[in-house]
Amino acid sequence: MSALLFLAVAALTIASALVVILHKSPVYSALGLVGTLALIAMLFLGLDAQIVGFLQIIVYAGAIVVLFLFVIMLLNLQEEPEAFAPSALVAFGLAGGIGLAAIVAIGLARAPLPTGPLRDRFGTTELLAERLFTTYLLPFELTSILLLVAIIGAVVLGKKKLP
């Protein structure tokens, strides 16, 4: 990904993430989330991770955000007059967020980051599938159990009014 394109995508990503955390209406927040996730998928493509980028679109933008929108629709949420915590807490939150970003950025900037010409098959479905079914076979199978438990849990929780 060229530097100019990266800067444009990065600016849009930050802008849509700001929409998520600043907009008072949860529906607009969800739409901002779609934008953020799709732009992050573009960054994945820029990092030569095709399959991860496509999974990002399918799983996140396709499934998770739709789930969010359905819940917002079920709850019939409107714009909230008091969407934010009291301003003293907001100041602490902002300071914490900026400080955290600075610490993480400094730490990451110190990491050695060699880069080189792309090895063939890097980022392809073939290579990822090979890893998942050899090195990560046990975690992969456990993931299916996790998803089954999540399905059952969501159904049980959503079924009836708990006391």
């Binding site: 530097a3 930050i14 998520v20 991860v52 709850l75 969407a83 915590a85 970003a101 090895r119 999540a150």
Partner: protein, 103 residues
């Protein structure tokens, strides 16, 4: 400006996104928006994993992102079901008003 962007830029962007997500968790009261901010933080970490995978030319980073996505999907399903139950019990999704565990 046709050179490829340095990989460290991706790391800085992911740090900024993580900070934005953390800020969202701290300043918002709506449980659903807090959830969305958590998703932004998870994605920032995924971006870091993919960047290091590109740097090391190692697909393990992609495999971990795959697992993070699966866990995030499970978390979103169960978490939103819990929020739905909280709304049914208290008719609010404001985190400040859900004080059932406070004594």
């Amino acid at each position: 400006m046709t050179d490829p962007a340095p990989l460290s830029w991706y790391l800085v962007l992911s740090a900024v996104l993580f900070g934005l997500g953390a800020t969202g968790v701290l300043v918002r009261r709506n449980l659903i928006v807090v959830f969305m901010a958590i998703e932004i933080m998870l994605n920032a970490v995924n971006l870091t994993f993919v960047t290091f995978a590109r740097s090391q030319q190692n697909a393990d980073g992609h495999a971990i992102v795959f697992f993070v996505m699966a866990v995030a999907a499970a978390e979103a399903a169960v978490g939103l079901a819990i929020i739905l139950q909280v709304f049914r019990a208290r008719a609010t999704v404001n985190a400040d008003e859900v004080t059932m565990l406070r004594w």
